[in-house]
Amino acid sequence: MPNPALIIQAPRAICTPGVHIFVVSVTGRDRLRESKIEFEFDFGSLIAMTKTLRTVLVALAALCVCAVASGEGQTTDLVVWGMQLGPNDQGMDAVIRRFEESHPGVTVHMLGMGAGRMNPQKLMTAIVGGVPPDIVLQDRFSVPDWAHLGAFEPLDDLISRDEGKDANTPTAEQYYPAPWSECHYEGHQYGIPWMADTRILYWNRAVFRQKANDLRKAGLDPDRAPRTWSELLAYSKVLTEFNPDGTLKRAGFMPNFGNSWLYLYAFQNEASFMSPDGKTCTLNTPASREALQFMYDGYQICGGYANAEKFRASLRGNESDPFFTGQVAMKIDGDWIMPGFILYAPKLDFGVAPPPIPDDRYYKRGRFKDVKDRYITWTGGFCWAIPKGARHRDLAWEFIKHVTSTKMRMLEMSTFAGIERERGRPYVPRPTAQIETNKEEIAAFMPKTGNMRAASQLHIAMMPVARFRPSTFAGQRLWDEHVRATDMALLNVMSINDALQSGQDRVQDYLDEVNNRDSLPVADLTIPSVVGGAGFLLGVVLLIGWYKRQRLGKLARHEAKWGLIFVAPWVFGFVVLTLGPMLASLYLSFTQYNIFDAPHWTGMTNYTTMFGKDRELITKSFMNVLYLGGVGVPLGLVTGLATAMLLNAGVRGLRYYRTLFYLPNVVPGIASIILWLWILNADPSRGMMNWVWQHTLTQWFGTLPPAWIASEAWAKPALITMGLWGAAGGMILWLAGLKGIPNQLYEAASIDGASAIQQFWSITVPQLSPLIFFQTIIGGIGVLQTFDNVYVALNGQGTGPNDSLLVPVYYLFQHAFYYFKLGYASAIAWMIFLIALVVTGLQFLVAKKWVHYEVDS
């Protein structure tokens, strides 16, 4: 334990009520051998400027000390990723505190990090870089992805070691089959399930009652929920209402609102996306086509998917959740929404039912004659896993056993239930992956009556009949492709068959590629490195020889020596950080490389894929860039030039205008994107742009404001708008260019009677043409590398509606860090490079025609 031998408490100011405290303390540990500086800084409110200033100064001082003196405590830090303790996690906090108590000297750090969710990039770089967390809380379906790469530790040896000795040891019998097998891959257990969720149908009784007559007229019972797909559609048809302009007023049922995806409907229709042996992807089967057709029909009732998405984008959460307000009459959603019901709509009159199933399944006809479970659902959830290279493996295992034990799960729940009860709210049990825990929590916490009881009971009761996503290393890929296929089909871009087939093909390629990898030769690095090294040495020797042969005098030799010394840093950097990586990248582009294993030689496969099966997406990504550049770059040039010409007319206050117009350029890129995402918010009561739109264009033309980033047609214009904000700053450059044009030219032209427009085209433009040329090239190369704004706008997930924001560098990034296909990513990198070369080369070629250079310069 730390031994506070020395505690200096520098300015400890406890301020008057309202303003808060800051404490700077220097805590010496272990007799000055290590010192740790911590400071406390709480703004409270910025009442007195002097105090703030003092605080800032002290904080900065502390910061400096911080930077100088750093030391490790004697405690062991157990780092857990995938969960950040929020205000409602007192239960988990209690569990962790118990662990820290029983393991003195251990501090548990819980970090969100986006790990475990849909963003695998952080976890991948951390594992590869040798700095992984000790434990991750991982989305179960993606566990096989990692297991297959050897990035997670199998837990079997730990389980068999402790089985029987430690009562807390998790074993298969304690868990429902679905969550347990979901993190089972190729005979090994890679994760211990923790939370589990199930999806059921929620229906708003009030809306049903309100439309009772209409429902009865349609032959439907307003007092119960639909049971089959066709019933669901029939109910939805009656309950859906439109505004006069065709937008939705109320959606009866939107198939993918809430949480169901294609997976749930496909499971219900007994489709499975993978063959049992895990070698074939079966995304496109009659059963899944039917399921997608059902979703399509569901959206048709809402006026089409685009219309429904527009409606969805305008919806809000919390108290004004559309299900609470009756804007959505039915939805299929998971148990995680129950706390929201208690919090925001405790008096809501709603009902629950198992998710409606295909009619044949309900009536046990046709191919469903012998199906055992009538109603089924889909379960997902999280599990605890230990990444490869974790520094405290045994401790991590202890932690996992601790947090998954029934006792601790009950502690977690009872702590939170106590808090909820103090707040006057009921606590409603939610399903867990563990059978025993579910039993105990039902006994302890199940409310006696009410809607929440029904919901909670149904959620837990569905657990044994829950299906799970196939356990395959292509899980992430399958997920992404299924989302893309669903989008494409619902947006009417492709037929259902084509959409599913293209998704299936892409997943299948990935499966084949990985399955065939072992038959491919390991890319032996010795030959290329020997050849490369020899070539390099030969080159160096030749260079030295050539250098020696130069006939230089003594002074010149001295000068040359120093010259070489001076340029050496760049030469070194060029060889190591540019030339070497370029060649390596070229080499990697002919291999299959997942960074965990050695690269395998595949010859031209990456390139044939790029021009063959993947051509559509590659083309799309470059077309998107062409759009961004083709519209954005000229618009940017024109904006800058126009501003400069106005300023060049000899107005006063040039300096002030110049400062103001340049200012947007100094806003950091990410801050400016985030600001613009806020301005372009789809909801006119929040987004400034759409508010203006609603008060002008909507009133004049009746056109509704677009959803910007969330809509296919407006996503790219949104990015261009963001970019244009800084474009007026370009006038500084144009101003300098304009000042450089000799005035006699204009004078001569005026005397000849040329109009202002003629002067512009015949004098200004040719004189500025070198600058225009340079700006187009710089702008073109810049646009080709678009990444930051796309990543931030999409939060690193997906590629925008109908791939409308897919750009090459982002695509490369996805392949390298999401799908672990570094070989293919390298091929894309070379493609980008070649296209940059071609575009620049073309520009230089065309430039000869129109760029005007003064003769002598």
Partner: protein, 579 residues
């Protein structure tokens, strides 16, 4: 012809008519007020022709049946059309326009040579336009025509006409007084520039205003809130749930006693900072100091009278208990009210608490975001140092010292300017992984010590302007090259070095992709990446996000104001203006 195209034609005609009428009126006004001599005849001709054109257009427009397809509002409808088309069609139309111009030029060309040139150009435009049309058809584009109507009431119209008349009259009048031509033009330019400043400044203002807004002002149906208001609060000592400060792991926290354990030991529950909110720990009761809570001031109706007080407790069923402040008769009473019946009392002001709350949400180990600042500073300082030093040395070597192969090497360096960074991204990642530099700042700043081609190019251009004699003199004095560089050259090229420093500063302050790939621990992140992480985690809370964005922006804006000269010179030197 369909109703849609009739509407389009009618709209164009009526606008042409109005513009012609306006032009005629303007010329007449000038003729009347400015009394410029010598051009009366021409002006009168203009007036007559404008009037004629206006009459024809307006009459024609009047006879075209126009329907916007929508119910018309009150007043008199001014037709508007708006074409929504994919950029392919815009490109095609642009090409068509250029082709027509070239065609006219070809027809009117004097020499055969000129005609040939114009026809050549015409062919190019037609081909490019054809490509656009092909793309338009291929991508299944469509041109949408929106028919719109702006309703103009007589009052609005009168005000507009009066305003325009007065504005023009004032401008023309002042022109006559000053006898200075071009004053009108300048006035117009200023108006346009100021309008531009507003357009480009509004997002800025919106950033700042949002960062000081309360949640109720973020989303409103009434309109955009530009003047934020804050909830009034009254400090009070909470008897039921006293608020204390305590020390948790060496840092001050605020919270309440959740449970009394044994003797002086209590279980303390943290309320602030937010990032450890809800965390409980055991502590000694004597180490706690009570501080007041902030009670929200609300007003409500009680027996027909307006009562004002502050909330001392939020009951979970949605009620609040209010301690009355006014009227004096009820002062001190505690009244239970439904939250919905109370009206928050707010005054115009800035909600600075957004900033502190935002900092409190940042991960605990980042010391309220100071770790971000520290990392960014380390990154920026090291990169600036690296870029300036290496560019100086390498630039000097390339421009002032002769050695065999210099020009070839320089050409290689220039060609790397065209290289997209994506090409070297993955192998560079592998190199830094091999060095064990993942999750450190090294991969982000170490490469700057190997001179960027752009900076070297810049320096070389600048070195060219410095006379060789300076160096020769120092050489004769026996200076070494190193000494010549830092004693003779550095003072000469300081402005460029400053530009390089500022450019590097901005680049690293904005660097996002680097940290995204290399950094995974919150305590090691620089600001730009932390901002994106924050957006991912608390994306719904716009006020907090805008306050983070503002904090991230302040340093660069300050730098801009203090070193504006170098920014401007930098743009002119490098040619990298705008985004």
């Amino acid at each position: 012809m369909s109703a849609r195209w009739l509407f389009v034609v009618g709209t164009f005609l009526s606008w042409a008519g109005w513009i012609a009428l306006g032009r005629g009126a303007y010329v007449a006004l000038r003729l009347w007020i400015a009394q410029e001599t010598g051009t009366e005849a021409r002006k009168k001709r203009t007036i007559v022709s404008s009037a004629a054109v206006a009459a024809v257009c307006l009459l024609l427009a009047e006879f075209i049946p126009m329907s916007s397809g929508r119910p018309q509002g009150g007043g008199w409808g001014v037709p508007l059309v708006w074409f929504l088309m994919p950029f392919t069609m815009v490109g095609a139309l642009g090409c068509a326009a250029f082709a027509v111009v070239r065609l006219v030029q070809a027809v009117t060309a004097i020499t055969a040579e000129e005609r040939k040139a114009k026809i050549g150009s015409l062919v190019v435009w037609v081909v490019v336009g054809g490509l656009f049309v092909w793309w338009f058809v291929h991508s299944k584009g469509e041109v949408q025509v929106f028919r719109g109507v702006v309703s103009v009431t007589p009052v609005k119209l009168l005000v507009t006409v009066l305003f325009a008349f007065v504005a023009v009259a004032v401008m023309v009048w002042s022109e006559r007084l000053a006898r200075a031509r071009g004053l009108v033009k300048k006035a117009v330019i200023h108006v346009v520039l100021i309008a531009g400043c507003i357009v480009f400044g509004v997002p800025f203002a919106w950033l700042l205003v949002t960062s000081f807004k309360e949640e109720n002002d973020i989303s409103t149906a009434q309109g955009m809130v530009w003047v934020p208001r804050v909830q009034l609060t009254v400090p009070f000592y909470d008897k039921k749930e006293p608020l204390y400060t305590a020390t948790f792991r060496g840092r001050g926290v605020r919270g309440k006693v959740a449970k009394v354990l044994s003797g002086d030991q209590v279980l303390f529950e943290v309320e602030r900072p937010f990032n450890i909110r809800g965390r409980e720990f055991e502590t000694d009761r004597n180490s706690l100091t009570e501080i007041p809570r902030q009670g929200r001031v609300v007003s409500f109706e009680q027996n027909g009278k307006k009562v004002q007080g502050y909330v001392i407790e939020d009951v979970d069923n949605g009620d609040v208990i209010v301690k009355v402040q006014s009227p004096p008769a009820l002062k001190g009473q505690e009244i239970k009210k439904s939250l919905l019946d109370t009206e928050p009392v707010r005054k115009i002001g800035l909600r600075t608490a957004n900033y502190s709350e935002m900092l409190e949400w940042l991960p605990y180990d980042t010391f309220y975001g100071f770790a971000y600042l520290k990392n960014t500073l380390v990154l920026v300082v090291m990169s600036v140092l690296g870029s300036v030093l290496s560019a100086l040395v390498v630039g000097y070597g390339f421009s002032r010292l002769r050695f065999p192969g210099r020009e070839k090497l320089f050409a290689v360096m220039l060609s790397t300017l065209m290289l997209p960074a994506a090409v070297t991204m993955l192998p560079t990642f592998l190199i830094f992984k091999y060095l064990g530099w993942i999750d450190t700042l090294y991969p982000l700043w170490v490469p700057t010590f190997f001179a960027s081609a752009f900076n070297v190019f810049l320096l070389r251009q600048f070195f060219k302007t410095i006379p060789m004699e300076l160096e020769d003199a120092s050489k004769i004095d026996g200076c070494s090259y190193v000494r010549t560089l830092y004693q003779v050259m550095v003072p000469q090229i300081q402005p460029v070095l400053a530009c390089i420093a500022i450019w590097t500063f901005m680049a690293q302050w904005n660097n996002f992709m680097g940290p995204l790939i290399y950094i995974s621990t919150p305590e090691k992140m620089p600001i730009a990446y932390a901002l994106q992480m924050f957006q991912g985690e608390r994306g719904g809370e716009f006020a907090l996000m805008m306050s983070f964005a503002t904090l991230a922006t302040i340093p660069t804006v300050l730098l801009f104001f203090f070193a504006q000269r170098y920014f401007i010179e930098g743009v002119q030197l490098t040619g990298l203006g705008g985004r």
